[in-house]
Every structure is written in C-alpha cells, then in structure tokens.
Symmetry: C2
Subunit: 254 residues, 2 copies
C-alpha cells in the first residue's frame, strides 16, 4: 500500500514538473534535480493518509500531496544557499546552487513555489481551503526560518513553524481534498502539529544537537507522538495508515 | 475613479500583509517594505479594469489584484539580490537585501509569494482558474528571468515571459474574478500580452537600451499597443479604463 502511494507521488511530481527538454532547460532541469526521485516523501504520505482517514481516496489528494512536496523542496533549496546555511551538499549530492549556480537555484526554487500553488487547481474539491492552507503554512514555514536565523532561542516557535507547519499543511490539505468535516480537519491539524514536533525532537536526537538533555528530548518525542495519536481518535474513518506513519517516524534511525 | 482603485489596492495590501508588530517582526517589516505604498500599481489597476470590462465590479478583483502585486514585488526583491542584479537601491531607497540582509530578503520575498497564493482564497469566484493562472504565470516570469540571465539573445521569449506574463496574469485574473466568459478572457490575455510587450519597448526607450534602433522600437511599441486595443473590441463591456491604461503606458515618461 505504502509502495503504491510512493509510486503515486512520484508519477504526480513527474507529471506536473515541466519537461527538462523545454526551455529554459536549465530551469526545468534544476527544478527536477531539486525535487529528486525516490525520497521518503513523508509529507505526501501524510497527505494521502489524511484523505483516506476522512473517507476519501488517496487519488483525491495527489495534487495537494505534490504541492506540499514541491513547497518543501523549494525551502530546502533556499536553505542551502550561501546567504543561508551555505551547504554545498544535500542527500550526498551537490546542492542545487552548487550544481546550477546561485541565481538559478534561487529562481528554480521560486518556480517550485509557484508550481505548488498551480497544482492545487487540479484538486477535486475544496480548492479555496487548499489554497488558504498552503499559503498560510507557506508563510509560516518562512517565519520559522527567520526566527531560527535570528537566534532568539524561542524553540517552541521555531519547531512549530519551521517543521510542524508543513506537516500540518500536508494533513489538513489531505483532509480537505478527501472531503473531511471541519471537526476531522481540526483533529488532523492537531495530529500533524504534534507529529511535526515529535519528528523534530527525533531529528535532534539523531543529530545529537538537542537543546535539552537526551532523556528530556526522548520524553518530549514520545509525549508529542502520544498526543498526535490521541487526536486521531476524533476521526471515525480508517486512521491506521496515519498511525503507522507516526510510529515509524518516532522509531526512525535516519 | 483611478484614485479610488489605487485606494482599494493599498487598503487590500495593508489588510493581507501581516502586521509588522507580530513576530518575527523583521520578516513582516521586510515584506511591507518590499511592497511599499503609493507605487504606480499598474498590474492591480489592469486587474480591476479587466474585471470591470467583463461586467464585474472592481471589488471582485481586489484579492487577485493584491496577489499579482505581491508576486510582482517578490520578483523585484529576488532580482536585486547580490547573486542576481546586485542592486543596493530600488525606487531611490535601499533594496530589501541592503536594508535587511540577504537571508531575510530571500525569505521575505518567499513569504510574499506564498501570501500571493493565499489571498486568492478570498476571491468571490473561479478560484480554480485564478490559482492556475497565478501559478502558471509565476513559473513563466521565472523562466523569462532565467533566459535573460543565460543571455541567449532570445528577446521575444524574454519579453513575453519576464514582462508580459504578469500583465497577462493581471488581466486574466481580473476577467475570471469579474465572471468573464472564456472568449472574453482570451481577449484579455491577448490585450495584456501586447500591452506587456509595448510596456517593455517603452521601458527600453526610456532607459535608452533597446536592442533595436530607436525608430524600430517606437514602431514596435505603437504596433503592440494597437494590437492590444484591437483585442478589446471582442469584449462587449466597458473597456474604457483598460484603453486609458494602455494609452497612458505608451505615453509614459517614467
């Protein structure tokens, strides 16, 4: 099942990204390079599972799932820039700016963000809510990044926005695309907020750079996961896939 | 009338932009600084006039008009970056990166682009078409910029995408927001494509850096304006405001 959803997101991304043989080739090549193939695609998987949880089909969420993955990848491209983290590598490959130059990296990421907005037009329903969610969380993730750079030390704000906002966008958009009720979508939002926090705590543990002692971070990760799972009880449909994603993220080793 | 529309766009931009006293302040301050106040707002005025031309109200187009102005301003912020044009000034003031630093400028512009998507959610109708148009032209304007940087010499491609795409987005979105027919929207698209080209030729004349001899550029500007005005004949509503905008752009001195 998971396998099928991974295929669905890869084929949807391939469908919506401009062909690399169109002009200007370098732009479309850089966009495709930035999005890559065969990644974990956590946010799209959450989006699909959320649609399913409210009684929709995964297929309903394919364009919102692509939108959130495009948006996520644009943030990575800009994060890697010399003026930001100055990373020359990502996923063991040259970062986009290292490969295509700084100007093309800035622009390719910009185009990914515009494309993420465009693909929502192909969702089957609730486009207004989808656009509002993607737009709101798109601003939110930037706010988290700015706060992180400013080094204010407000970890709660940074974790909520820099990490959890895109998890929330994924789950909430999946809910809207799948035809969920307002109550179900609120439950999905709470699930994803806490899943996002758990993901970030887990990330800190894996990178060994948590702002708290290790045991405290582990406690936070487990607690957030518990709150996330609890939120799912307010959804009457099949939430098993969302539960599996949550458990896997908590136990992940990379 | 024009005065009223300028007030409408300024108040709408002020309404949708985050308050500068919210956190992270520097982000919201930089976003507001980038958008400015009291500019010419050519694209929003086209958007309003297009809504009116198809029998809608200017009010119908206020959020699409804000969207196109936000998108336009994000492109300027990224164009000014050291990795791009390296401009320390814009409109006689420090450019966004010169004032707020490079990282904040990249991020503030990113947030403007996400916000431009979000505000479409508040349009009164045809959100699917609005999202598709903004997204398509948002990718297009980047393609024009990449081609310009690549210095391929394909002026037609660059002018169409770098300049005319956002004019087209403004007119077409105004048409959709105003409830226009498919034929009217096609006429608006043709109007705006040619208006955008005329605008660019006029820009070249004002900056004295046209790729053609002066007389040839003047001929192109007049011809494109004529084609633009001709396209309006296919619209049955009141196109007088669109005509006035076209004539003013052709005759402008700055």
């Amino acid at each position: 099942m998971e396998e099928e959803n991974l295929k669905l997101i890869e084929s949807t991304l391939d469908e919506v990204l401009p062909r690399a043989d169109e002009r200007p080739n370098i732009l479309y090549e850089a966009m495709r390079y930035a999005v890559g193939t065969g990644g974990k695609r956590i946010r799209p998987l959450i989006c699909f599972a959320a649609a399913e949880a409210v009684g929709g089909k995964c297929e309903d969420a394919r364009y919102p799932a692509a939108a959130i993955e495009l948006l996520h990848n644009y943030t990575l491209v800009h994060d890697d820039l010399p003026a930001m983290d100055n990373d020359t590598e990502r996923r063991g490959q040259p970062s986009v700016w290292a490969k295509y130059g700084e100007a093309n990296a800035i622009l390719a990421a910009d185009a990914l963000l515009s494309l993420s907005c465009r693909v929502l037009a192909y969702a089957p329903r609730n486009i207004r809510q989808l656009v509002e969610t993607l737009g709101e969380k798109g601003v939110g993730v930037v706010a988290g990044q700015v706060e992180d750079i400013a080094a204010t030390g407000d970890i709660a704000f940074i974790y909520e926005h820099k990490t959890a906002d895109l998890f929330m966008a994924a789950a909430v958009m999946g809910g809207w695309a799948g035809g969920g009720s307002v109550d179900e979508i609120e439950a999905l939002r709470e699930f994803a907020l806490n899943l996002g926090l758990a993901f970030q705590y887990q990330d800190d543990l894996l990178d060994d750079d948590s702002p708290w002692p290790r045991a405290e971070t582990e406690r936070r990760a487990a607690e957030s996961t518990a709150v996330a799972l609890k939120a799912l009880e307010r959804i009457s449909g099949d939430t098993s896939r969302l539960r599996r994603i949550a458990m896997r993220l908590l136990g992940r080793k990379i």
